[in-house]
Symmetry: C2
Subunit: 325 residues, 2 copies
């Protein structure tokens, strides 16, 4: 046990030094089941990385944009972590060969660390795992963590909660803006980007977005930027990086950065408690051998899962309340 602790301390030191192989090893460890002890050691060293979410529909060119942003940040002597949650991202190996070669180029830079997340496991698992990986990269000394997600579902809404700034990327193709609004993307956007700005329909989409943001309740002091980029040509990327920096400075000046990060910590505690209780429920409260009879009766509609779950939950809560309230 002491040997293991020494091992952990050594690992943490190498992590803080930003050693790529250690980062990769610790991320793999964190993705395995019982990772909270490691995360507990890592947490005190986190808190300095700025988290940027880049989300949008498939084919919006998010990865190319992420690469372009990363290169600009590297030029400013920043360390950049990239997490690809999008299964179609070339970072996660899901796109055409040409894209992947470009990414490999970036991955060789010693100030970049790229990690792709597999979209497997139980619901909630992916978003939580992304937060854990971001924590590791934060402690490893990254100045920026760029998190690329495919913006069509709920996972990204949940991942947006870990980001300080969320950039939503659209393309001029028809329907995108309507679908984006439906998916709640505009509500989570701090910065809007219309990528592939050389394509037809770009100006119309920009106008639509301006209109949509005028309708939206404004946060005091933040004027949502709506930018045009052509990431493949590196056009408009510097303006985007400036907009991200402006948003960071706005959050910092108004005290919102601290407030929002505290809210995220509260959410994280809830998630962690739930995760442990969920694990315990599956392992102990109702092992399959005990429940077969119950399931038979439920299948025959003689017993009611809603009632049984309610009873068990109420008992757990009642017992817990005696201690905590």
């Amino acid at each position: 046990m002491k040997g293991r602790q020494r091992e952990t301390v050594k690992g943490i030191r190498a992590l803080l030094a930003g050693e790529k192989r250690t980062i990769a090893r610790i991320i793999s460890a964190v993705e395995s089941e019982d990772s909270e002890e490691i995360l507990e050691h890592i947490f005190p060293h986190s808190g300095s990385a700025y988290h940027v979410g880049i989300t949008g529909p498939p084919g919006a060119g998010k990865s190319t944009l992420v690469s372009a942003i990363a290169k600009r940040l590297l030029g400013k002597r920043k360390k950049v972590g990239i997490i690809a949650v999008d299964p179609s991202s070339p970072f996660s190996g899901g796109a055409l060969l040409g894209d992947r070669v470009r990414m490999t180029d970036l991955a060789l830079d010693e100030n970049v660390f790229i990690r792709s997340m597999a979209s497997r496991g139980s619901l909630g698992g992916l978003a939580q795992a992304t937060k854990d990986v971001a924590l590791v990269l934060d402690a490893a000394g990254m100045d920026y963590i760029l998190i690329e997600t495919i913006g069509v579902g709920q996972v990204e809404l949940d991942i947006a909660q870990v980001c300080d700034t969320t950039v939503v990327v659209l393309v001029p193709e028809s329907g995108d803006s309507i679908q984006a609004m439906k998916a709640g993307l505009l509500e989570i956007a701090d910065i809007m980007v219309v990528n592939k700005g050389d394509r037809e329909g770009c100006e119309r989409l920009l106008t639509e977005l301006k209109f949509a943001f005028e309708m939206r309740e404004q946060k005091v002091g933040w004027d949502y930027p709506i930018l045009k980029t052509t990431a493949t040509e590196d056009e408009g990327v510097e303006e985007l990086v400036v907009a991200i920096e402006s948003h960071a400075s706005y959050l910092s000046k108004t005290g919102r950065l601290e407030d929002e990060r505290k809210k995220k910590l509260l959410l994280r505690i809830h998630e962690l408690i739930e995760k442990r209780i969920r694990f315990h429920l599956k392992e102990n409260i109702m092992p399959e051998r005990d429940i077969i009879k119950l399931l038979d009766k439920m299948y025959e509609r003689k017993l009611n899962p809603y009632r049984i779950a309610g009873q068990i939950a109420r008992r757990i809560i009642r017992l817990a309340d005696r201690r905590f309230v």
Copy 2:
């Protein structure tokens, strides 16, 4: 209270009779916070609907296929419930006008009930809400419930757990098959469909899929059908309906239908317990006013959320164990 119970009983009767306005009203009630009492009343009347998931990438023509399947089933005098979880589905109002007009046509049939789910709320909320809505439609006497999801994330993997048969729809466009494999779609498929079968690349995709399924571990007795459809022309749809019926009969004969449905009930109980505990945690265990000091210290990295969450969870579990183990 007695009046309310009478009201509920009356509502359940109208629901069982399949009254469209009652179905809509009860679904709205179920989507609100405290729905478990209603679901408890509905559950005993469920269990006869056959659940079919239709999933695939955006633009695969899932909605057109769902419409075509629904029309065939209506022709066989079946009652059909449709749940659209895909934000780009015309059922949920997210597609082009032409599609929507076609859907409206279907919606007017007295043996069809269509419901679209908003992709909002907390993670896990959407998949759970979909299961609740399916339960209502089941009790309302639907023979088939068709659930359309956009197959790129985890929500659909979770929704697949409510379906007896999962149909994965792809189109011949390049990259789709690779992306589908990445997203774990092939693993949840009982039936594969290549839609827009008149397009270039269709035969190549069919060959790829056949190869992929040969690699995959087979369920004894089920030969995964790989079908070609052109939903807009109603081509291949009858074959698809026959494949769904064959899968249903395979599950039923081998006892797998019962086994799988019991597993789903077990999962549902776990989810319901977690949901209640989650709700309770947010409301009672750590109200914001009590936790502000804690959050301040965590923000300063003097306290550790992983340790705190672990402590609270362990105490809850220890108390719970005295009663249950």
